[in-house]
Every structure is written in C-alpha cells, then in structure tokens.
C-alpha cells in the first residue's frame, strides 16, 4: 500500500537571490527540468529529505519581485503560489529565499506571500557574505517582526542548509492547504505602505554596510557607457572564440570516436540493411548531433559562471542600452553567437532570457545564423561555381561570397526578430527593470551541477527523439530497395526519392532539378548530409571527403549559375534541420512555434531563392 505522498514546497524569491543555488544544495542531482505547459518558462522540481528523514518535494519557481505578475515567469510563480495554475498542486508551504546582502526588495514580497496564508519560512541566503562584509542581521527580531520562521542559509557550503531543513521539519505540512487565499493585487497606496513597512523592519533588524564600495568600483567600469560596452564585446568575443576554438579538439575526438565505433560495429555486422541502418542511419545521424556537446558545455560554462558572478544581469542592462526604445530590433547577442556553430546551444541558452518575447524571438531566429553544418554545402557550391579571382582591390571573390552568406543570415535574423516583435507582440515593451546583484565568486560545485544538468538534457534528447528521427529518415531514404537489374542511384527508388520527384515541380520555379529535391529530404537529418546525397544521386563512386571534390565538376556541368546561387540562398534560410525543429518543440513546449518556424523559413527561403534565380538569370542572359 502506498503511504501518503511527499508534501510539496514552493521555492520563491527575487531574481538573483541564490534561489537556484539553494534548490541545487537541497536536491543535489535529484531534480527534473521541463517547461510549464504552453510557455517557455522552465519548471524545475526536485526532492530532498528533512533532518528527520521526511521526503519533501520542492518546486523552484521563477524569480519575482512581487505576486502582481508582470511577465510570463512572474505569472507562473504567482499562479502556483495561489494554487490556480492548471495542472499544478497547491503547495503545502512556501520557502521564500532572500539575498541577505540585499533584503530591501524581498521584504515586500514576503508581506505579499504572508497574505496568501500558507505555512512559510524566510531563508536568508548568503549570510556568510553579510558577515564577511561586517554586516549583521538580527534573525530572531526579523522573525518576530514578520511573524514567520527565519533561518540563515549558505547554499554553496556543505551543511549550509541544516537550519532550513530543521525548520521545514517543524512546519505543519500535509494539513490540507486552504484552497482560498487572502492575497489581492495591492493598490498604489498599499505598495507605498508596504515599502515604508519594509524600510522600517530593515532599519530595526539589519545593519549591512554591504560591499557597495567594491560593487560601485566594478560597476563604474563594467557599466560605463564606453568601457562597459567594450568589455561586453570582449566577453562575447572570448565566448565566441571558446565555443569554436576550445571545443574543436573535443569535437574532433567525439567525431573520430563515433566514426571508429561505426566502423567497428559495422565490421561485426554482415553486409545488408541492418549494417546500413546502424552505420549510415544511427552512427552517422546521431553522431552529427552529438559532436556539438563540447560547444554546449563550454557555452553553458560561460553563461552559468557569468550569472553566478553577477555579470549576466549587467550584460542584459548594457544590451538593453544598445537597443534603446520600442524599435529595439535585435534579439540578445549571447545566445545567438554560438548559433554560428549550431542552433542547438543558442536555442537551449534562450531559456536564460528574462522575457518571453526575447526568448521566443531568439529561438525563432537562431537557425538563421550560419551554422557549421552549412559550411560543407557552401564550400562545395562556391568552389564549383565562383571563380577564384581577386576583386575590389584584392579581396577574393569566393571569400566575399562566403561573407555575403554569413551576412545574409545575420541581417535576416535581425529583420525577422524585428518583424516578430512588431507583428506578434504589438504592445509597447515594458520598461527594463532589474535589481543588479552584488558581485560574488562563483561556486565551482554550482557551476559543475549546472553543466551536468544541461549536458544530460542534451544527451537525453540525442539518445531519444533525435535517434528516432534519424531512424525514420534512414528508412525513407532506403526503402523500398531498387528492383533487380535497376539502373540509377538506389535513393531514386526510395520513398525519399519518390517524394523528391513528386515535389520537384514545386521547386522548379527556383531552379532546382529533381536531384536537388531528392537530396533535400535526407538533408533534413543534418544539412551537410545533402553533399553526400548529391554524390549518390549523381552516381559518384567517391566516398567521404572525396565526394565534395568529385562533385564540383559534375555540378558545374549539370547546374546553371542561377541554380547554384539559388541553392546557396535556399540554404541560408531553409528549415533544413529536423533536429532543430525538435529542440524548438521541447524548449517552447508547443507545436505552434516549430510549425511557425518551419513555415516562415520555408517561405523566406523560397521567395529569396526565387528572386535570386530569376534576377541572376536575367543578368546573365
């Protein structure tokens, strides 16, 4: 017989209060990350044992300054606490986390949470920092003033949560939580009164010189209108370099390892369909995605490190300054930079954005950045069609075309983000308000745990959804097999080949022949796969890297220049990666946004390729 289920506690606090550090300290790796239904707001749930060994579930809610709910994140927090979010339990108790070095804002939140009427504890996190800075908080007095238990915690130290665990043990959990609550949206006068009351309590209970001196000195440089921007760009440059350069050896290692494993496993299997599925479908397909793991780990290493240090909030402030006013065209830079390697890390990193608008805009434009999977295609077509000569005072024409393709991706990303914000979120953006946290030395254990969770999420996705997709794409490209004595490439007889022939008339206006259309279908597994498939459909006997070289003269003879240019432009914009759509589905927790992404990218690619084909044709006539 099952015993009573574990009670559930909601962890609430202002942004940057150390809430997630406390959540990690309480739960360790016993946590699950998903999204709330229909919104791109992360849902983190975990479990832990109290001092007496009682199991308790805990929900890490998005940071908020009040229960008024001014953003999707804050609305989720408010609705969970009030017990009115569909599909979520009413929490048995609330633990409010406060950055002890910055109590002022949280006191007003505490007063609102008290009005809800659930059992509640205030956890003063980072008390070690307050003491180190010569500050003092009278915890007992604060508890009396607020009328709730108050405990000190140091989330980043072993045993730093002992007092909190003991207090949770004493809470009246599992007595039926009331379905009604006593909270209502405060009026302006009530907010002013709450501010005054918070100031009074703070004055009575806390003395905190803070590290304002150090913070002020650092901010004078890091938030400087000129030096701050220069430093931000330097940080972005370093991240960009790290994601590309530092990851390269590990990526090569993974790639070599997967290829070696494919050959070894393939060597054991007899020639036939099963070997083709394992080697060409599973190892080649999933391996093409797994190879990006080092880039994802490095990107998140920087993001978590900078966030823990207190710089991410300042980076957001500086970037808001860089795109002033309502006409802000640009999505945030940090998640978009790594999308030059692969949209995966960019889309996953979008979860760090403060507003849903920025998150969705970033996710939607990340695939327009020129990812590394496009490079083999660009290199092949440019080498085959663009003459290797100098123009405009010494610039290589081939390099200029490559630059143009990169620039087209960036400019179109900015334009799409602008249009999205104008068309879908027409209301004026809310003013950017953010409490800048004090600078802190990041805790290695917290950074390591964050990386472990992110890498695990990526590997789970590669091992489940992407593996299944790759099997299906292999099947479409392989079945049915050509009949005995058939001539021509085998893929021509497959379901993918037949779909290619069926769709060929749709792509004829943009200059594509049936061979290109057939290559696009398995190319949905990974963009660069199209090069190998073109080699197959043009019946080349070369394999591996030789395919590209052998293809160049064949394509140069078979395609016109307008077709080649149209194909390049198609690759800049087209939704040619089913894994990206799968990760968008997961991150947005919605079918609408991946469908929207596929549709707008397809229309954009078609229109741009159509224009390119016909303009180039007219100019060359």
């Amino acid at each position: 017989m099952n015993g009573p289920a574990a009670p559930e506690i909601a962890l609430v606090g202002c942004p940057n209060s150390g809430k997630t550090s406390l959540f990690n300290a309480l739960t360790g790796s016993r946590q699950k990350v998903a999204n709330y239904a229909g919104v791109t707001v992360e849902r983190k749930e975990g479990s832990f044992l109290t001092t007496s060994g009682r199991p308790v579930k805990i929900l890490d809610l998005p940071g908020t300054y009040s229960l008024r709910g001014r953003s999707p994140d804050e609305i989720v927090t408010r609705d969970v606490v009030l017990g009115r979010l569909a599909g979520e339990e009413i929490p048995d108790a609330v633990v409010c986390v406060a950055d002890a070095t910055n109590l002022r804002l949280v006191l007003r939140l505490v007063m609102e949470l008290k009005a809800v009427g659930r059992p509640m504890v205030l956890a003063l996190n980072m008390m070690d920092v307050v003491e180190r800075q010569g500050g003092r908080i009278d915890v007992e007095r604060l508890s009396q003033e607020l009328g709730i238990p108050v405990v000190s915690t140091v989330a980043i130290k072993r045993g730093g949560t002992a007092a909190l665990l003991a207090v949770i043990d004493a809470l009246p959990l599992h007595e039926d939580p009331p379905t009604e609550h006593g909270w209502r949206e405060p009026s302006a006068a009530e907010i002013r009164a709450a501010h005054a009351e918070a100031a009074r309590i703070l004055h009575e209970c806390a003395f905190h010189p803070g590290n304002e001196h150090l913070t002020r000195k650092l901010d004078a440089v890091l938030l400087h209108p000129v030096f701050g921007v220069v430093i931000l760009l330097a940080v972005l440059f370093l991240m960009f370099q790290a994601v590309f350069s530092w990851a390269a050896p590990a990526m090569d290692l993974i790639k070599t390892g997967i290829e070696w494993a494919g050959v070894e496993v393939g060597g054991v299997l007899p020639e036939g369909l099963l070997k083709s599925l394992v080697v060409d479908g599973i190892f080649a397909g999933v391996g093409a995605v797994l190879v990006f793991l080092p880039q994802i780990v490095i990107l998140f290493f920087f993001i978590i490190l900078l966030e823990d240090f207190g710089y991410m909030a300042r980076a957001a402030f500086l970037m808001d300054r860089l795109r002033p006013g309502t006409a802000a065209p640009g999505p945030p830079l940090i998640p978009l930079l790594p999308s030059f390697a692969c949209p995966f890390p960019g889309i996953m990193a979008a979860g760090f954005m403060e507003t849903r608008r920025d998150r969705i805009a970033t996710i939607m434009v990340a695939p327009l950045m020129t990812c590394s999977a496009r490079l083999p295609v660009y290199t092949l077509i440019i080498a085959a069609f663009i003459p290797d000569r100098r123009v405009l005072g010494g610039f290589g024409l081939q390099g200029l075309v490559m630059f143009g393709l990169f620039a087209a991706g960036i400019l179109s990303a900015l334009a799409v983000a602008f249009v999205l914000k104008k068309l879908i979120w027409r209301e004026a953006p809310e003013p950017f308000i953010m409490e800048l946290p004090d600078y802190k030395v990041p805790a290695p254990a917290h950074v390591a745990l964050g990386l472990w969770i992110r890498a695990g999420a990526f590997l789970r996705k590669a091992g489940t959804v992407i593996l299944a997709l790759m099997i299906l794409i292999w099947f479409l490209s392989t079945f049915p097999a050509p009949p005995e004595g058939a001539t021509g490439p085998a893929i021509d007889w497959s379901i993918a080949g037949r779909i290619g022939h069926f769709l060929a008339p749709i792509f004829e206006p943009i200059g594509f022949n049936w061979q290109i259309v057939v290559a696009l279908i398995p190319g949905m597994a990974a963009r660069e796969v199209a090069v190998g498939v073109l080699g197959t459909v043009y019946a080349l006997s070369a394999t591996g890297d030789e395919v590209g070289q052998a293809l160049q003269p064949v394509l140069a003879a078979a395609w016109s220049l307008p077709t080649a240019l149209s194909f390049l432009v198609w690759y800049v914009f087209a939704p040619q990666c089913v894994s990206t759509l799968a990760v968008v589905r997961r991150e947005t927790n919605s079918r609408f946004w991946p469908a929207m992404m596929f549709t707008y990218q397809f229309v954009l690619a078609y229109v741009a390729a159509f224009a390119t084909f016909h303009i180039a044709g007219a100019l060359l006539r």
Partner: protein, 55 residues
Amino acid sequence: MNETTLIYGIVLGAAVFLALRWMPTSLRSRIGLKSGAACASTKSACGSKGCDGCH
C-alpha cells in the same frame, strides 16, 4: 527473425515513440497515457499528490 522484420520493428518502434512523445496532452489523457514529455509539464492528467510517477 530475419533482417527485414527486425528493421521494420525498429522503424515502427521509432515512429510509435515519436507519435507518443508528440501526442497532444488531451489525446494522451483520453487514451489513458500518463508518462512522457507532456506529462512532465502538467499534473492535470494524473490527479493529485498520489501521483509520483512521471514528474
């Protein structure tokens, strides 16, 4: 088991896995399924505190 049967089994398994994974929550609860990605996002399909299976 011959090779073709095995291949069809794997492909069918992959297709069913994706269909279940991406099935709308309403349809999922209608046919009595609880676990999976959609379940991680909501408890509405599986009731109250007694549910500890899929979150």
